[in-house]
Every structure is written in C-alpha cells, then in structure tokens.
Amino acid sequence: MTQMTYMEALRDGMRVAMRSDPNVFLAGEDVGAFGGCFGQTKGLYEEFGPKRVVDTPISETAIMGLATGAAAVGLRPIVEIMFVDFMGVCMDELFNNAAKMHYMFGGKITVPLVVRAPCGAGFSAAAQHSQSLDAWFAHIPGIKVVAPATPADAKGLMLAAIRDNNPVIYLEHKGLFGLSGEVPDGDWEVPLGKAEIKRPGRDVTIITWSAMVGKALEAAERLAADGIEAEVLDLRTITPLDVDAILDSVGRTSRAVIVHEEVRTAGFGGEVAAVIADRGFNLLDAPIKRVTAPDTPVPFSPVLEAMFIPQAADITRAVKELF
C-alpha cells in the first residue's frame, strides 16, 4: 500500500500496464512532454518515449480512429479525450464503429481500447468543460463504462480496463484528481462490473459513483447524527451494472436514493431507478429518490455552479423525505 492521489493512482495503473505489455500505448492531445492538461500523464513520456506516448493533433475523430484501428489489429490503445465534453466530436467513431465492430462482424474482430475522459464540474469551466455524460455511454451496447471514486479504484479499474477486450470508457473526475488514499502496490486490478459498499448501513441505500461518493459519505455522516444509518453503494462500473449488489443492499434497507452529477433527465439514475422499480419493487418501503444536477447546462459563476452540483445537504434532504 502506498498513499497517493487519485491522479497518481490512475497514472500508476497506466504505468503498470505499459510496463507489463508492450502493446499498450497512450495517445491524445498534449499527453506527451506536457503531461496532460491536468498533469495526469506526467512522467510517462519520459519513461516510455515518443513511440508509446503520442501527442496528436486536435482531431478527436482521428484519435478515436487511431485507437479503434490499432485495437482491431491487436494493440491495446489508451486514448485521452481532453474533456469528456469533447466526446460528441468522436461519438460516431465510438458508438457506430468501436462499440459495434465485435457484434456486427460476428465476433471476428475485437477492439480492446480505453478512452480516458476527464469529467465533472467544480472549476468554473462552464458549459462545455464541466459535463458528466455517463448515461450516453451506458446507452451504447458493446462498451463498458467505469467511473472510479477513490485512488485505489482509480488504479485497479484502470488496469482492468486496459486488459479488458472491449472498448472501455474511463471517466476520471477532475474534482477527484487531488484526493489522497491508500493504493495497493504493483499489479492490482479491480474487476469491472463490481460495485462496492463504501459505508454499510441498514436504513437506506445511497447508490452513486464518481465524485458523488464523497458527497454521499458526507451526507451519511450527517444522517448518522440524526439516527439514520445510510449505506453508500459505489457502483464503480456503470455498465455492466452490478444489479445484484443494488438489489442486495436495497433488500436490506428497503429504501433507495440515487445520486449523480449528471443532469437529471435521462441520466443514469433513471436506469438504476428502473431496475429497482422492477426487480426490487417488493423490497421497497418508500419512493425512489434521485438527487442530481438540474436540467441545465453547467453554469460558469461559482455561486451558480455550487447550486448546480448536488451537495451533501441535497442528499440528506432527499433521504429524510423517505422517513
């Protein structure tokens, strides 16, 4: 175990994978000597050189194609799209080709690639640099989507993502980059598709992921003071969704609150709610609540942005409505 930040941990994941497999390379805008827009890739260029750490032009469709074509012939690309907000530029390449090739071609081609995409609000970066688009990716059959909330998960999911034989979207939250925590050393994976209880509790299940895990834990502390023991279930992987973990927890607590930073309408919280409202209906003692950003673009002004982002107080309020 080593104490490191979320950013160091995801970088460590890349480094371990690149050391252990020469087919792994990294490409994107300013990922080389510059070290990435937020410093995520610092040191990788120095260690692995320009062949394996590749600065690209500002050409997201070519970047996604680079990953898809290289993966289709056996390499294991990691590409960075500088902000998840830019995924619309290469959405076609991702969803009509990378995601579908394996199925369309009858299993004849596999596309093992990772797209790293920094997401999330909190930096006054405004409407085009602050989004969470989790549900969009979750709606694409053929890809997997991970969204780590802790340094350990950042590393372990990175390694699992790189070694998975499918396109994986790795959503790294900008607000977590500086978060510190214990991270297992060496070659250590967190399996895709497994949620984790980050705090056990018997009264209500708060289902969340990414930066909202921290907010949920904060809310759970406050609720505990009021005698409500909230379980915080961190999905970690958005798709494939760990339905068993959700139903198991809700089966014990009989109440569910879903929290995400995405805007509300058609966010991934809807999927989680729908799964519970179908398969977990008889477990429930109360309505299913969602705590989300409102249906607006992300505003610039810090005061507005703070209102936009779901806060611990919003979560405690939603939980209390259920009692």
Binding site: P57, Y103, N166
Partner: protein, 320 residues
C-alpha cells in the same frame, strides 16, 4: 508496363468475380432473397482489384457501404459473403452484419462500413500499428468522392501525414454521392488536389483502367512501405447502377451513362488480355465458367445454411 500475364489474368478473374457476385446480388435482391440495403460496385471493379493486387494478407484495408468489391479483391470468401447477404448463421458475421458490415481479420479486412467516411480513421489506426510493430505492412482506406467532404477525411489524412504513417487513401470518384453530383458537393475538379493540404502526394488516375490503377497504387504502397508516408490516390470512375438497389438513378444523364459503360473496365481488360496474347476467347470463357461455378456454390451454401437463432441475437456483444 509493370504487369505480366499472371498478374493481369489474376486481376481479370478477380474483377469478374466481383461483377458476377453482384450480378447475382441484383437478382437475389429483386427476388427478395437478400434484404436490406445493397450498394453495388458494378463498373468500379478495377479500383479494388488494382489496389488490392499490391497488397498481401498482412496489409489492411477499410471498406465502405459499397464494399463487395473491396472484400472480394482482398480475398474475401464468396460463400461466407453470400451467406451474410442472406442473413444466415454461416455468414461472415453470422447474419448480424449483412452487406454493409463484413470483416475478415485474417485477410486484413477491417470491415465494410455503413458510415460514410468512417473507414479512414480506422485505417489510420491500423497503419499506426503496422509501424508500431516495425513491420512493412500498410493500411489502405477506400472511400468515395462524397466521403472526401467529411471531417474524418481531413483529420485522418492530417494525422497520417504528420505521423508519416504507412497508409494509402484511395478515393473512388464516381462523380456522385447518392444523387449529388461532384460539382455540387465540392468546388475542385480533382479530389487529389486535397493532398496539398497535408503535404503528401496526390494523384488522379483513370479508375476504369486496371493497369493504371495498379501502377499508381504500387507506387503509393511502396512509398508507404518505405516509411515515406501516405498518398492520396483518386480514381475517376462511374457507378453504373443506382446508389443502392431500388434507386433508378434518374439524376444521371443517359448519354453520360452510355459513354461510361463504353469504358466499362471489364471488357476493356478482356480486350487487353486478348491483344497482348495473354488469353484467348476459350481461356476467358473458362474463367467465366470457374467464377460462375463459385458463385453458384456460394448461393447454394447460403441457401442451405440455417437462419440464426435467439442465441445469436445476444452473443458477441462483448468479447470475453
């Protein structure tokens, strides 16, 4: 001329195979045995064949919605293709892909593609891998005049040029994107003029002359293999059928259609073969018989194959 009789006869056979496969597809589509969209390559065969004659199995291609010709020229199996057009479980994609989505990894075929212009970025990735592995393999992207207006064209050519990737970009300029005439969708006469934007060679060649196609492609492929970077090849040609089966192509000028049919690459090559003394009428007939038999066998294979079942619906969404 760098072509000998073996090469020329081989190219003729390949072109014939494409032509007859598609003539059969016309019939099967009309008979409603082949569903979905069917985009035919009839009249453009010299391009796929002339280009793929420069490639080996280690080389990669990306194809288009109009892909039968590329696949066959690169060695694709007629029986698996035909079964795929029929939507049978024995097809290349177990019936999941159809005409627009056929790939064969072993042959370096990275797929036909229903998205116009989507093959170019993927070819860029394959070319990157060829170089990454220190091989001399290359990747070739086929695309149309219409596709050369897509952003993917620009981004892919720029990336390939900047990285000096072993890629060849082959524009099949048949003068139309569906009903839209080239002069109404771009303001240059030669798509190859776009090469200048990337500092790479751009060449325009008669796409109905397989020898000319082959020669230009040889040079571009050699250049890529040498590590000197990509080339943009433009082959002028003509789509003899509608955009897809069912489109009567009324936007075409009948006189122009007639003039282009007079330049059909197949009879043209047949005449060359005879003029050069590479093949007589009997030899040509024998090739026809051989190809027709292959196609008949492919149809039989397709018709005798089972339809896919519920298990196929859910399989292969994810690789293990």
């Amino acid at each position: 001329m760098k072509v000998d009789s073996v090469l020329l006869l081989g190219m003729y056979e390949s072109m014939l195979r494409i032509r007859q496969f598609e003539n059969k597809a016309i019939e099967l589509f009309a008979a409603q045995k082949v569903p979905g969209f069917v985009h035919l390559y009839i009249g453009e065969e010299a391009i796929a064949v002339g280009v793929c004659a420069c490639l080996g199995d280690r080389d990669y291609i990306t194809s288009t919605h109009r892909g039968h010709g590329h696949l066959i020229a690169k060695g694709g199996r007629l029986d698996l293709m035909m079964a795929e057009l029929y939507g049978r479980a024995s097809g290349y994609c177990h019936g999941k892909g159809g005409s627009m989505h056929i790939a064969d990894a072993n042959l370096g075929i990275l797929g036909a593609n229903g998205i116009v212009g989507a093959g170019m970025p993927i070819a860029g990735g394959a070319a990157f891998a060829c170089r990454y592995r220190d091989t001399d393999a290359v990747a070739v992207a086929f695309f149309g005049d219409g596709a050369s207006n897509r952003g993917t064209f620009h981004e892919s050519l720029n990336l390939a040029s900047t990285f000096k990737l072993p890629a060849v970009f082959v524009c099949e300029n048949n003068l139309y994107g569906i009903s839209n005439r080239q002069s109404h969708h771009m303001n240059v006469t030669d798509v190859s003029d776009r090469a200048g934007a990337y500092g790479i060679p751009g060449v325009t060649v008669d796409g109905n002359d397989v020898v000319a196609v082959y020669e230009a492609a040889s040079e571009a492929v050699a250049r890529a293999r040498r590590g000197d970077g990509p080339t943009l090849l433009e082959y002028k040609t003509w789509r003899q059928r509608g955009h897809f089966e069912g489109d009567p192509g009324t936007y075409k000028d009948p006189a122009e259609q007639k003039a282009w049919i007079a330049r059909d690459p197949l009879p043209r090559l047949e005449k060359q073969l005879q003029d050069f003394g590479f093949a007589d009428a009997a030899a040509i007939r024998a090739l026809h018989d051989k190809v027709d038999a292959e196609i008949a066998a492919a149809v039989r294979f397709a018709e005798e194959s089972r339809l896919p079942g519920a298990g196929d619906l859910l399989s292969d969404v994810y690789a293990a």
